[in-house]
Structure formats: C-alpha cells, structure tokens
C-alpha cells in the first residue's frame, strides 16, 4: 500500500471502527485469559451458582455470569475467541496462499497448453505429497481417512498419465516412444496394483507412499530423457487455465457447509489442525477466481510484456511484477475471508462438529445457551454479540482496505 492508500484508509471512519473492533477482539481473546482470575474449565459452585441451581447471573465475581455448569462466561468467551481467531487466521492463510498461487499461475499461463500427462503428474505428485505430509504430521492426524482420498486422487493422476502416454504411442512419434514406454512401464503396474487390490482393505499410507515414489521416479526420468532428446511432444494438450478453472468449478459445485461437515464427520478425532485443513482446503476457490481475473489484467501491462520480451524468466516475472500487483487484492480477500472463517468455525461448533467439549467455542456456547432462554439470557446474548462484533469488525476492515487499495469502488 502506498501513502495515498494509507491516507484514504485513515479518512475512512468505517474502516477505523473496524480496525478498532478487530484490535479489541484480538486483545480480548489473547491477552484476556492471561489476566483473568478464573479457569475456563473449572466450575465455581460457591459464587457462580444462581438460585435453584440455575447459571449464576452477572456479578462482581463473574462479570458476565456463569454458564450451565457454573464456569465463568467471560473467560470462556475469551478462550472461544482465541480458538475462533486461530482457526480463522490459519485457515485463511492456507486458503489465500493456495488461492493466490493457483490464481496467479492460472491467469498468467492462460493460453499455455501443456501436455495432459503433465497435469497427471501434477495431480499425482500434489496429492501424493499431501498424503505423505499428512502421514509425517503424525499422531494428531492418525485416523485421518482423507489419506485414502488423497491416495485415490493420486491414482487418478497416474491413470490420466498412463492414458495419455498410451495416446502418444498411437500417434507414433518415434522420439517420444522411448521415454513414454519407460513411463508407462513405471506407472501402469501402480494403477494395476491399486485396481487389483482392494483399496478399502489397503493401508492408505502404503498406497500414498507408492504413488509418491513412482510419480517422482518416473517424472524425474522423463524429464531427464526429454531434456536430452528435445523430444517432440505428441501427447494431447490442454490449457492450464482451463484445467484450473474447471477444477474450481467442480469444487464450487459442492455445497460448502455440507462439504465441510462431511469432511469434519470423516475425521475420527477432531483437532484444531483438522479444522484448519478442512476449512483452508475447501475455501481457496473464491480467492483463486478473483486473483486469476486480476492477473489476467496485470499480465497485459506494458512492464510485464517488456520484461518478458527482455527474457526474464517466468518465476521472476511472477514474483517481481505479478505478485506485488495482486497482493493488495489478496490482502482484502484475506480480511473478508477471516470474517467468513469465523462464521464457518462457529457454524461447525454450533452443529457440534468442531472441537469436543470442554473446549470453549462461540458456536457451541450459543447452541448451549439456547436451552436457557428464560433463566439465563446472557448465555445467549454474549456469544451472539461476540460473533457479531468479530465478523462486523473484519467486514468493516476488509471494506476499508478495499476502498483504500482500489478507490474506483469507493462511493
């Protein structure tokens, strides 16, 4: 952001209110628990109990009263806020990073046609690597059945590659046949192995490890061969941008909350890490679309065309020219995404699919409070107001940032 953008931001009253709200919520959630005198998990039967055993009303000891089992509501709100913000920040980081990467690549390379089997390689490597990562992340993700999903997709990638290799054999470009035969020799057994075996009965991590190994070896071999032979590429080709955007289309066809819920249900032991991953890995599509649109504009700018003409490499152009020009949009998207991630986490915990009790989270507190409409309305009001203020704060901030970065839209 340049100086004018900062000045615009500072003149915008709504944006400043948003910033103040965000700072207040962050302070409350992260500093609050440090200076509070209560334990969020321990009931206070002496001073926190109302008449006839109802939750205690707000008092000098418990400023916002106590919840259904007499734990201090204020402290639990702060802990809930910490969970909410942590989930929102990490999930947003995952989603926006992934979305920006896909968006930039898709936009910048629109019109570049790559071999279909290269896409297969990417799918195989990407999901194989994801499976490997999930394995190495260890105990926390043990029972993370998504491994099976990743392995399955990796197999799909290997099949695409095998198929397109077969296609190039039909076309009889002699220069390619040698490398492709080798590739086929490596990837077909894998596909066959998985098809013959019962994937359901198979240990997922073995499939994943095998896919990673085969994809790496065959990819490296193919690369070295082709580099030496300058092979004519005969396999069918597809536009990078088409592939990425169609993938986004498919992901967007999933009902978001249902998908997140189904993923959350597929995980045996829900932890903060699994919530990050589930939310982050499903929410990147919107960012990818917007960033792609912006990149399509940026890549036609004169200085980008000039540096391409001067022979600067694609990674350098992407890093030095494209990224700085889309980062403003990405920051705005990220701010709005934090708001929607807070909502998503609260929705999950409202439905009982987030962290199990006794962990404090705003959605669950709201759901618990519904049973106390009449005797303890503060159980309902407090989490509701907390969610409302947090979301409002990030929305206002995002809007202010957008007006500051892109004054065209400001009205």
């Amino acid at each position: 952001m340049d100086r004018r953008a900062i000045a615009r931001f500072r003149r915008n009253r709504g944006a400043l209110v948003g910033l103040a709200l965000v700072v207040a919520i962050v302070l409350f959630s992260f500093v609050g628990p440090l200076i509070a005198g209560h334990d969020p998990y321990v009931p206070d039967f002496d001073r926190g109990r109302g008449p006839f055993g109802v939750p205690g009303a707000p008092s000098r000891v418990h400023w916002l009263g106590t919840d259904n089992i007499f734990r201090d509501l204020l402290v639990r709100l702060a802990h809930g806020g910490r969970l909410s913000l942590e989930v929102a920040f990490v999930a947003t980081t995952i989603a926006v990073t992934l979305g920006t990467a896909v968006g930039i690549a898709s936009g910048y390379f629109k019109g570049t046609r790559v071999r279909l089997d290269a896409i297969g390689d990417v799918v195989a490597l990407h999901f194989g690597a994801a499976a490997g990562l999930a394995i190495t992340l260890g105990r926390d993700l043990a029972g993370f059945r998504l491994l099976g999903f990743a392995a399955w997709l990796a197999t799909l990638g290997a099949m695409v590659r095998a198929g397109s290799v077969g296609f190039s054999l039909v076309r009889r470009r002699r220069a390619v046949i040698a490398t492709d035969l080798l590739d086929l020799a490596l990837s077909l057994p894998l596909v066959g192995w998985v098809a013959v075996h019962r994937l359901g009965a198979l240990r997922e991590h073995r499939v994943a490890a095998a896919v990673v190994a085969v994809a790496t070896v065959s990819g490296a071999l193919r690369w070295s061969f082709e580099k030496r032979r300058r092979a004519t590429l005969a396999a069918p080709r597809v536009d990078v941008d088409d592939v990425a955007m169609r993938a986004v289309d498919v992901l967007l066809a999933f009902p978001f909350l249902l998908l997140v819920m189904a993923l959350a249900a597929a995980i045996e032991r829900t932890s903060e890490a699994t919530i990050f991953l589930v939310l982050g890995l499903t929410a990147w599509t919107g960012t990818a679309r917007v960033i792609r649109g912006k990149t399509l504009q940026v890549r036609e700018l004169e200085f980008v065309v000039a540096s391409r003409a001067l022979g600067q490499s694609a990674p350098a152009i992407l890093l030095r020219h494209v990224l700085p020009n889309v980062i403003g949009v990405a920051i705005v998207l990220a701010t709005n995404s934090v708001a929607s991630m807070i909502v998503a986490e609260a929705a999950l915990s409202f439905l009982g699919l987030s962290l199990p009790p006794p962990a404090a989270s705003w959605g669950r507190m709201l759901d618990d409070g519904r049973a106390y409409y009449s005797v303890a309305p503060w159980l309902l009001v407090c989490p509701a107001v907390a969610i409302l203020l947090a979301v409002l704060g990030f929305n206002l901030l995002g809007e202010g940032l957008r007006d500051a970065v892109d004054p065209k839209d400001a009205s």
């Binding site: 249902l258 597929a266 206002l396 009205s411």
Partner: protein
C-alpha cells in the same frame, strides 16, 4: 445453431460436474470412520451376523466393484409399476416412470434414502422460495431507495443496517429472532413445521425471515452499488434530458441493466438454499434436507450423507446452468457473441 451448441456444451459440462461430485461423495462415504455393517446389525450382534450383513450390503467386495455397483444403481431402468417396490431388487428405488434412482438405504432409519429425501425435499423447496422472495423484495426495494436518496440519512441508515445484516450469520440472527418473536412476544411458534396451510405458514415465517433478512442485506448492497453506477451513465442523463418519466428512467434504464448481476446472485443463492439451509433448518427444527444432513453427519449415516450432498450439488449445478442460460435472455450483447 450457435445457441444450441452453447446449450449443449453447457449441459455436457453440468453432467460432467455432477458425475465428478458423485464420485467424490462416494469416496467421502468410504472415508467415514464407521463400520456400516456393525451399525445395521447393532452393537450386540454376533460377529457372524455382522459378516452376513456386510456381505448383504456388498461391503465385502472391492472398492472398484462397489463404485461400479453404486453408479449402476444410481440411475437405471426398471419396471414402471409402483407395486414392484415390494420386490427386493428395486426395494430402495425411487422412480419416474421407468427411470429408477437408487441411493441405497439409510443405516439408521432403515428406509430408502430416496424416500427420505423425497419426504423432505418439498419443505426445503418451500423454505428456499419463501426466503428468496423475502430477500429480493426487501433487498431490491431498500437498495433502490438507498441509491435514489444517496447521501441522505435514509441511505446512511440503510447501508449501516445492511452491513450489520451481512455480519450476522444465520445462527446469530435466527436465534435472536426466535428469542424475540417466538419466546418473548409469542407471535410465532418456536420451531417445527406445523400442520395445515395457516399453521404451516406461521411455522414457515421465522426460518424464512432469518434467511430472507440475511439475503436482503446482501441484495441491498448489491443493488445500491449497481444502481449508483448505472444512474450516472451517459444514457441515463440523456434519457432524463429528453424528458423520460423519472420512474421509467429508474426501472427501464437503471434496474433493467442491473438485472444480470442480480439474477446471478439470486440464482446461485436459490441453488445453495435448495440443497438445504443447514443451520436455519437446524435452529427451527424445520424438517428439510439441511436438518436431515446434520442428523446424518452426527450419526455417520453414509448413504444419507451421500444423498444430501448429491442433492445440494445438483441444485447448485442446475442453478448455475439456468443462470448462464438466463444471461443470454437478459443481455442481448451476450446473445450476440
């Protein structure tokens, strides 16, 4: 000719997306950490019975085989007569003439998933239509008003309320409305669906209002932004200069041109809602697809999860298909291309 090709390509793409989503939901179902055979047999069942049921459900076959059977059963041809439902082969099918759809049986409810969904779909459709109607009427109205009275107190208030509206997720707004209108004022029933027309309407009011107000806030911002831009366009000034009536300028020269973005959002929202408004249905115990999905997720009831996700995905794909086709109707420039 060109139009036909466009429609054809769009349909083929929609079919492909539905197929991919179907595949993914099948995989997701397989990934659920529960043993369906054990769930059907019950916790006390002997291992031999569990094994028998596993075989009955086809869970002892390879995953590729299971996937093949799943796809084959999903849409297939069968006898037209309804009384064949008693025969075991088509016991869990729903059918439209000779076209059968089979999503298997629920592990928990022991009924065909197609029947369960068919029971609940009308409620979800009613709720979605009511909610979208409320949000369009309220949102377009207040958006127009704010744009026409720009920079007055009316505009400022509308914008502030709309911002508050989009910041209040349905579970905050819904719970608040439930507390105020049903618990405190006792104007409307707390939850459920009600019986008969009038009672049904009274029960519909709260969930529809919750979804409708949230959508209205969004439309207000959209319509206001679009209209402010459009009313400053040259052709609007020309129209005014030529003495076109004020309302005609606003509606024909202004709103007519804002229709494309509005229709896009309405269509996509309707698509999302037809797949079940998960949270709202849950809050008001509305017996639609959304609350069915929540229950299925909690019970890890695989076939029902697959069914609900599939219904949601088909609704979204159909909605975006219809929106794409409407573009051509609404905007001659798109038709020309």
């Amino acid at each position: 000719m060109n139009a036909l090709r466009f429609v054809g390509r769009r349909l083929a793409w929609a079919a492909l997306v539905v197929f991919l989503v179907t595949t993914a939901t099948f995989v997701l179902n397989r990934a659920l950490p529960s043993d369906p055979a054990r769930m059907v047999a019950g916790a006390q069942a002997r291992p031999s019975d569990v094994a028998k049921i596993r075989k009955q459900l086809g869970l002892d076959r390879s995953i590729a085989e299971q996937y093949g059977i799943f796809l084959q059963r999903l849409v297939h041809l069968g006898p037209r007569e309804p009384d064949v439902r008693s025969t075991s082969e088509h016991a869990s099918c729903g059918h439209l003439g000779a076209l059968h759809v089979d999503l298997g049986r629920s592990y928990q409810q022991r009924r065909p998933v197609v029947t369960i969904i068919a029971d609940r779909l009308p409620r979800t459709v009613v709720l979605a239509l009511a909610a979208v109607t409320i949000s369009v009427l309220l949102g377009v109205g207040s958006g127009l008003l704010a744009a026409l009275r720009r920079n007055t107190w009316l505009d400022t208030t509308t914008v502030a309320i709309a911002l508050l509206g989009i910041s209040a997720p349905t579970f905050v707004l819904g719970v608040a409305l439930q507390w105020l209108l049903a618990y405190q004022l006792r104007w409307l029933p707390l939850s459920g669906a009600g019986e008969g027309f009038v009672d049904g309407l009274r029960h519909l009011a709260l969930p529809a209002l919750t979804l409708g107000v949230f959508g209205a806030a969004y439309y207000t911002r959209l319509v206001r932004g679009e209209m402010i831009e459009l009313l400053e366009a040259d052709y609007v000034r020309t129209a005014r200069a030529k003495g076109v009536a004020g309302w005609r300028v606003v509606l024909v020269h202004g709103l007519r041109n804002a229709l494309v973005p509005i229709v896009t959002v309405v269509g996509l929202e309707l698509g999302a809602l037809l797949g079940g408004a998960v949270i709202t249905e849950q809050i008001f115990s509305w017996p639609g697809i959304g609350s069915l999905a929540v229950r299925a997720m909690r019970d890890r009831d695989g076939p029902v999860i697959v069914g609900t996700v599939l219904v949601g995905a088909v609704a979204i794909v159909l909605a975006s298909l219809v929106v794409d086709l409407l573009y051509a109707l609404l905007d001659p420039r798109i038709r020309a291309r």
